[in-house]
Symmetry: C2
Subunit: 337 residues, 2 copies
């Protein structure tokens, strides 16, 4: 049995965007298994910007508790059971879990664990991305709240990210014109060339209103917002009647040291009889298998391309997390251990 | 036939909240009827804060054009056909119309006119209030988007206004706890004593967060917002999971000279998987009769009290409009001509 374990601990609370020195790799013993516990090997660590929130002393929400300093950082993993003293789990089984950034985890199995299908698809890392919370956020967001119709314009922020890279492709499958927002000319070109977006808006250019208008000449029917913050005000000015705004992520605010200003033109929702929907994808867990079948079918048919930003080894987990905040990833970020 | 007409013209564009000198009564001739036109006597003028928007040179929306200076102010009226050269309209018929603030109107009949039911309820002025756009805003907002459930808490801003005075009562009929926000102790007492609100929040007190928390100990499930502006940020901090926010009016911003700051905590919608809905009630015109039957039944059964702020005569129309912005009305504001 394995006896050594490496974990990434929270060395310092990030001040604004996280930097690599906020994290430190430590060797930690693996405790012996108690009755009811399982020992897992973590095969992949998922990097998700939202976890930045709980690195603050006071996250301002009650979704998860604040992470303690000097302790392993909490995250999402794809893991395999190695030893089990719990009747419901057998060695060899694959799990998705809210485990720490570490090579091995010993835990009382709880509701922060879900199982992979008995015949998982290949590669397994997709269960942290297109077939996991991020891909399913794109799917449920557009299906449940977006109700995308043929010919509509779907605008996606952080369009090269884990959620956005899938959202644009799903929008196109529904017959919509997909427009992606990303930072820099190179990423914008990739949105079109790799992900099939119909048009791209470079977030770094001076006149963002004009850029959105050029890319969305018929206005915006659905805005799939992964960044939050000031961009929303610009988009609200260009929504169509009955528009739907999906608030999925807020990467712009996770590392803000002050609350970002809110949109001053929310009344656009009234005059355009539009709506805004927040959603937490993990609440749809009972529907994951159904959604995975649909997404898997699209992947098999070559209708969805799945970009992955993959690094290797526990030493690179902190860096991969920081990459999210400097926009260095294209697609879902994972670290293979 | 009547030959003189008095109209209220826009004497000056209001700077912030409107004042009485922004309006002036003028005598104007009644033009002769051309083929296809009707002459109406305006029995009641409805005062609606939203029309403040179109008194600016640039309203910032495209719902209606800006009102010209020196011309009669545009509004909503309850009118009776006196003469008709239009095949679809007969003398004696009652109409609701987007007519000017004047005693008589000559017009080509268009889609800015709707008919009262053939056997209208008494008093007729209710068709501008509880059975008109404001009461139906309360009804459709809570029914279509609010989906109020027994035991939920429904918080209503501008709770003594035309919409709010009805919204709270409908919320209670659905079995919800209704909490109203209004300015001043006297109005707050009336919310409870006259309109049957379960609790009231005085908008003028220093710690509005604590006041909302005291009045809504179980959090806010539905927020029916008639004022817009900074209050929304305070309410967002106290919404429950799956909360619904209904953006009906924005009286706080209609007369603001600068855009008001937006809520900095919109991400509460995501963590609480809540939603926000803008709506324009006049788009539901085909359902008005159905909704009036329901509301009329509640009035007949004594389940809804209908307060009205009624003034008399064309000379008082400007004053009645200004009353809306100083919160002088309790219930729907109308002027009987």
């Amino acid at each position: 049995m394995t006896t050594t374990n490496h974990a990434v601990v929270l060395a310092a609370r990030p001040n604004g965007a996280p930097v690599e020195s906020d994290f430190r790799v430590e060797q930690r013993p693996i405790p012996p298994l108690a009755p009811g516990q399982i020992l897992c090997r973590n095969l992949f660590i998922s990097l998700d910007a939202g976890f930045r929130n709980w690195m603050d002393e006071d996250s301002g929400d009650n979704v998860l508790p604040a992470m303690p300093l000097g302790e392993p950082v909490m995250g999402l993993t794809l893991s395999q059971v190695m030893e089990s003293q719990h009747p419901d789990y057998q060695p060899g089984e694959y799990l998705m879990a809210r485990f720490a950034w570490e090579e091995h985890t010993v835990t009382d199995a709880g509701d922060f664990i879900s199982r992979l299908p008995s015949k998982p698809r290949d590669p397994l890392s997709h269960y942290l991305g297109v077939l996991g919370d991020t891909g399913l956020s794109a799917y449920f967001g557009l299906t449940d709240h977006g109700r995308v119709q043929t010919g509509e314009t779907v605008l996606v922020s952080a369009a090269a990210g884990a959620v956005g890279s899938i959202a644009g492709q799903i929008a196109r499958i529904h017959g919509a014109r997909a427009v992606g927002i990303a930072s820099g000319a190179e990423k914008c070109a990739q949105l079109i060339d790799v992900l099939g977006y119909d048009a791209a808006v470079d977030r770094t250019q001076a006149d963002i209103d004009a850029a959105i208008e050029r890319a969305c000449p018929n206005g915006v029917d659905v805005y799939f917002d992964n960044v939050g913050g000031p961009l929303l005000e610009h988009v609200l000015d260009q929504i169509n009647e009955d528009a739907r705004i999906l608030l999925c992520g807020a990467v712009a605010s996770y590392s803000a040291t002050e609350p970002l200003p809110g949109p001053r033109n929310l009344f656009q929702l009234t005059t355009k009889h539009a709506s805004m929907h927040g959603f937490m994808t993990h609440l749809q867990l009972p529907r994951y298998d159904e959604a995975r079948d649909v997404l898997g079918g699209w992947i098999d048919a070559g209708r969805i391309t799945v970009p992955e930003h993959r690094l290797e080894g526990i030493d690179n987990v902190g860096r991969a997390f920081c990459d999210l905040f400097r926009g260095a990833n294209f697609g879902k970020s994972v670290v293979a251990l």
